[in-house]
Symmetry: C2
Subunit: 125 residues, 2 copies
């Protein structure tokens, strides 16, 4: 299970950086929930999750997993990654910590992303 | 609230490294829960939490917060820290990611620690 979870996390970060959205959605179980960032309304189900990732899917972006932060315990995991997006000559760098819970098939059933505006760096390109 | 949470996290890591146990327990609300590591039985209330921290309170140890990992969202936070314990000529290094939820008074109401045996390094001193 640990290896399955680790693979899913690596795949997730890679797909968030490169898409396609549908492949990200397929990492989630049909009734999965996404709370990103923590404290905002929870999105549930593939349609709502697709809508969420479609927003970043339209942006010029890349991601990197901070491999030394991956922690797996039971059927849950946390990890930090960096996402850089480039919009209108600005470069936005965000490094959230995501928490994920998995079902026995290795699908994500819950994702919660910990970050706030303070964790976003904005620079000219 | 963000500053209050950040202060509590700094205080927590410092006290886990130096004690006393009672000061750690006081960071928790009376009915708080602790799940450490995630996947093991949840401890609830000051008496159970005291018993948990008394175990490490007896060890030669120190801690360090990885300040670049602190992420605060709503009334919850995650952070990574390192705890080094020395027992019988061996040095145990563990770097968990802890998740905490706080009440309005800034007391911890829930703590969940993400780590597994794989994240523990054991070396001779």
């Amino acid at each position: 299970m640990t290896k399955q979870i680790r693979d899913a996390i690596e795949q997730y970060v890679k797909l968030v950086g490169a898409g396609p959205t549908e492949a990200i959605v397929e990492l989630y179980a049909p009734d999965a929930t996404v709370e990103d960032p923590v404290g905002t309304p929870v999105r549930q189900g593939h349609a709502a999750i697709r809508e969420f990732y479609d927003v970043i899917g339209a942006l010029d972006r890349d991601t990197e997993l901070r491999a030394d932060t991956v922690r797996i315990a039971g059927n849950e995991a946390v990890f930090m990654f960096t996402i850089v997006t480039r919009v209108a000559g600005q470069r936005f760098t965000l490094t959230p910590i995501d928490m994920m819970e998995f079902d026995d098939a290795g699908k994500i059933i819950r994702m919660r992303a910990f970050w706030s505006q303070e964790d976003m760096a904005i620079e000219p390109e």
